[in-house]
């Protein structure tokens, strides 16, 4: 709308304005290039002959394209297992997140809820104070969750700031009169929550799903701290082994020569970056219009 207003006054565009626009376009185009090129480069490198990449000949397009790296990656049981675990942690963890977040967020929107203030304080204290790494670790251990799948699902179960965002979502998408009318007609709070609030806040829930799912997908510290059994390792742990600890040996049992191994390792590294990041990178543009809205609602204080 604002731009329409400005455009109507096109006649008055001075040369200074044109310069401003030009410089603006150039800067933003450069910003895009800086963000995009590293990602693009990793993508083309993952399809190229490793020697070409290592000698700097792959710049704009893949050279001697091959799927060798991907073949090795997809033939590796560790990667599949990591994928399986990460999907499990992400799906189950996000489901738990949404349940914990939406239920408590709804109670915070109920008019005249007698303990609302106390509840809010109870929720906000952990945002500012935390027991820290070791006391949390000891508690997880005491609950018998160490080295279990459950730990990765339950820990980070609730992000209080997301509950505050959810509260704003509910307030803005469920008219107060509607839930009050339902209450007068004898609808219970359960009824209002399941039959009115949840269906009306679908867009908001989609945003929360994205926030939480991305966090689970990319989480690696929890796995590093709480998991000992390699069978339970999430994708990020496997990635760390391959990318940063150079443990890609079992991807190339068939190769004998050391230099060949080195080459294959490079190719695998580029490939795993793509394989692990692609799901999220493909997903988010579709949800972009929702999550921007979510951040906006969440950013309005209180």
């Amino acid at each position: 709308m604002k731009h329409a207003v400005l455009n109507r006054r096109k006649i008055r565009r001075t040369s200074g304005d044109i310069l401003f626009d030009t410089v603006n376009y150039i800067i933003l185009a450069l910003v895009m290039l800086i963000v995009l090129y590293p990602l693009y480069f990793v993508a083309i490198a993952s399809f190229s002959e490793p020697n070409m990449v290592n000698t700097g000949q792959v710049v704009l397009l893949p050279k001697s394209p091959s799927l060798d790296g991907y073949r090795r990656i997809f033939n590796n049981a560790k990667i599949w297992n990591g994928y399986y675990n990460t999907i499990l942690y992400t799906v189950a963890g996000t489901a738990l997140n949404i349940s914990l977040t939406m239920t408590v967020a709804y109670t915070l929107t109920v008019h005249r809820f007698s303990i609302k203030k106390i509840l809010l304080v109870y929720l906000m204290i952990p945002v500012y104070f935390s027991g820290g790494l070791i006391p949390t670790f000891l508690q997880v251990k005491a609950l018998g969750l160490e080295n279990t799948r459950l730990a990765l699902i339950i820990l980070n179960g609730l992000n209080v700031m997301n509950a505050i965002i959810a509260r704003s979502f509910i307030r803005s998408s469920v008219p107060q009169e509607l839930s009050e009318a339902a209450e007068i007609d004898g609808c219970s709070h359960f009824g209002i929550f399941f039959r009115i609030v949840l269906p009306l806040t679908k867009a908001g829930i989609a945003v929360l799903v994205l926030y939480y799912a991305v966090a689970h997908w990319n989480e690696y510290m929890l796995a590093l701290i709480y998991l000992r059994n390699p069978k339970l390792y999430s994708l990020q742990i496997i990635l760390r082994e391959i990318l940063l600890q150079n443990q890609a040996q079992d991807f190339m049992d068939d190769i004998v020569s050391a230099t060949e191994k080195q080459r294959a390792a490079e190719l695998i590294k580029y490939g795993v970056v793509i394989v692990s990041s692609l799901p999220m990178l493909i997903l988010y543009p579709f949800l972009q219009k929702y999550f921007v809205k979510g951040t906006l609602i969440g950013s309005i204080k209180g």
């Binding site: 709308m1 604002k2 731009h3 207003v5 008055r12 001075t14 304005d17 401003f20 626009d21 603006n24 376009y25 933003l28 910003v31 895009m32 963000v35 995009l36 990602l39 990449v53 290592n54 700097g56 914990l100 977040t101 239920t103 408590v104 109670t107 303990i115 509840l119 929720l123 204290i125 952990p126 500012y128 104070f129 935390s130 027991g131 820290g132 790494l133 070791i134 006391p135 670790f137 508690q139 339950i154 179960g157 209080v160 359960f190 997908w217 990319n218 690696y220 701290i225 990635l239 760390r240 391959i242 990318l243 940063l244 490079e266 970056v273 999220m280 988010y284 543009p285 906006l296 950013s299």
Partner: protein, 311 residues
């Protein structure tokens, strides 16, 4: 007699409230239990920082030792090193990382076309969705001294081969700039939100008065997002000491340890690798206390100077 009746009335009222609200209690209960188990119990467990933790005796049964662990931490060279590394990294991140999303939002807001704006946004948000493991992995690949494309380009341009990820003197720049690369786009969302609420009439009036486009940014856009900037800045202050151990830990190697060892990584290593539970907790507690002091300090200052405040 009167008191008694009031008591009965209150009792009745309480009963009525409970019958009306019990389903709400039930709905809030899962979150309450979760926070109790994984946040409040560990908060109580912080006392371990003042004790000598013995595993068989548990947190409660272990003997009190007062400030022993704090004193030990303050007297080691690691304190100075980790403390200053943390602060330098934080301040560099704040100095460079804080303005970039604001500038990006201001530029995006002045774009006349919607399509280009949306494209820039989609592209700049992307790195936010990439994990830190992958980011650091990409850095080691792209900046590798022998095979990385950055060094290839550098040599082509007549420069020297440089081990960006290995040498200590580059660590901070790599850490901070990769952070900007990853989060500037996502960080601009909140400022774009603030900018979208600027009154159109202001732009019109300013244009009538012959204000240039750059003038609009300077005199309308910037003043209108200052409250948001202040709030964001206060929140950054509250996080100054807790950079998080993930990225620094991933980027750490033997060569850069002198600059990459921050409080968070040190706490992690001391606690979970060397199993010095009490000592590590003491460092962690010290960090949170500093964070809270900084947060409250920044907030008080801001309330006095700009009348913006978190609470």
């Amino acid at each position: 007699m009167k008191n008694n009746r009031r008591g009965m009335l209150n009792g009745k009222k309480l009963k009525r409230t409970i019958t009306r609200e019990w389903q709400l209690y039930l709905l809030a209960l899962p979150a309450v239990i979760y926070l109790f188990l994984f946040h409040y119990v560990p908060m109580y467990g912080v006392q371990i920082a003042f004790k000598d933790f013995v595993a068989i005796k548990g947190i409660e049964g272990s003997p009190w030792v007062g400030f022993k662990h704090f004193e030990r931490f303050f007297s080691t060279y690691m304190f100075e090193r980790a403390f200053s590394n943390t602060l330098i990294l934080s301040f560099m991140g704040l100095l460079i990382g804080f303005p970039v999303p604001i500038i990006l939002a201001l530029l995006l807001n002045q774009l006349p076309g919607k399509k280009f704006k949306k494209t820039v946004q989609t592209v700049t948000y992307a790195p936010h969705f990439i994990s830190l493991v992958v980011i650091v992995g990409m850095m080691t690949l792209l900046f590798s001294p022998n095979t990385g494309i950055v060094n290839k380009a550098l040599v082509q341009l007549g420069g020297q081969k440089t081990n960006f990820m290995g040498e200590a003197k580059y660590f901070r720049w790599m850490y901070v700039l990769s952070g900007v690369w990853q989060s500037a786009g996502w960080g601009s969302i909140i400022y774009l939100a603030a900018l979208s609420s600027v009154d159109m009439g202001l732009y019109e009036a300013a244009r009538m008065d012959g204000c240039s486009r750059f003038g609009l940014v300077l005199h309308i856009d910037i003043p209108s997002i200052i409250p948001t900037c202040v709030i964001m800045f206060i929140m950054e202050m509250g996080r100054l000491m807790s950079l998080g151990y993930q990225k620094a830990y991933l980027m750490q190697n033997d060569l850069n340890l002198s600059v990459s060892e921050i409080i968070d990584t040190y706490t992690y290593k001391v606690g979970l690798i060397n199993n010095k539970f009490s000592y590590s907790s003491a460092i962690g507690l010290f960090t949170s206390v500093v964070n809270i002091i900084l947060l409250v300090g920044a907030n008080t200052l801001s309330r006095k100077v700009t009348e913006e405040s978190l609470w």
